[in-house]
Symmetry: C2
Subunit: 188 residues, 2 copies
């Protein structure tokens, strides 16, 4: 990729993230992004069809990064112990606050990011727990359960952020697992 293209793309992403960290997505105009990125109007539209596409690409980059690192791990699907849970890994990763992702998740923009987060998380939950029979043991439709687990984790993260991350990732993981674990107990 042309060095100019890379620089422009980076500048736009950086400007967008900066604006998103203290403004609602819908309150940000393309004009502002252009101004902050210090990029020509036509240039912006040469890179991104609309503001929505810019958001989409940003989300994809962020979640590929976050969920990608979690996917690689060798998690034991243990709901009993928090220590090697993939959820703890995610929380720790989020806490590092790469790319200011927490700012994005905690502000008013969260609906949009959360949609992506949840959708990606579902795949992760499925790939981690669907095959090993854990989900089938519960007396509930599998898809309902996957949705429940993913949603609950996303809600847990939102709750954690709204509390200024006062609790440690370990404590939060314990809370979360305490709501999920009992559902997955073997029932005979």
């Amino acid at each position: 990729m042309d060095r100019r293209q890379r620089k422009t793309r980076d500048a736009i992403f950086k400007a967008f993230i900066k604006l998103l960290s203290h403004k609602n997505y819908h309150q940000i105009s393309v004009q502002e992004i252009i101004d902050v990125a210090d990029v020509g109007r036509a240039t912006f539209y040469a890179h991104f069809e609309t503001k929505d596409y810019l958001l989409k690409e940003l989300c994809e980059e962020l979640f590929d990064h976050i969920i990608g690192t979690a996917r690689g791990g060798e998690y034991h699907c243990t709901f009993g112990s928090a220590e090697d849970s993939v959820f703890l890994h995610l929380l720790r990763h989020l806490q590092e606050n790469d790319h200011n992702i927490l700012g994005l998740l905690s502000s008013e923009n969260n609906e949009i990011f959360i949609r992506y987060f949840k959708s990606n998380l579902k795949k992760l939950v499925m790939s981690q727990y669907a095959e090993n029979g854990k989900l089938k043991d519960a007396a509930l439709p599998e898809e309902y359960l996957i949705n429940h687990i993913s949603s609950s984790f996303v809600e847990t993260v939102s709750w954690w952020l709204s509390h200024k991350r006062r609790e440690t990732p370990e404590a939060v993981t314990t809370y979360f697992l305490a709501t999920i674990e009992p559902i997955l107990q073997e029932r005979g």
Copy 2:
């Protein structure tokens, strides 16, 4: 209230709901609302400061209605049986689809409505279960638990709608309670 005001207000609400049932909130312009409501531009702004305020007032009316009827009931806070659960009542009420509320909840607009829904639901959950000690029995912070219960129910409703309401309200209530009940079991 002046009959003219009432008629205008109604026309605007009706037009807004109609548009919302097949369009995203952010895709609807004031101009469209005016056109569908068949109301003068100045008249709209005499009633609602902005489109956002219109949405806010609509949400308040809808949730006062829905949650209001649930609040009045004499529910037994029984998590074991679905039959007299306040959640079953809510689902049945939603199924009647007053004011086309399901269209609003299931479309892309849901983020906005869901914020209101969840916020009101939290109060309901608190008032129903906070005092009787149920929540305190669980080994989790009370506020985390209330958030978890409310969020899970909202997610359950969304899930139900995304499935075209194939399941009965009774079945959905059973699913939901199966995820909540085990957490609230007495622990000694």
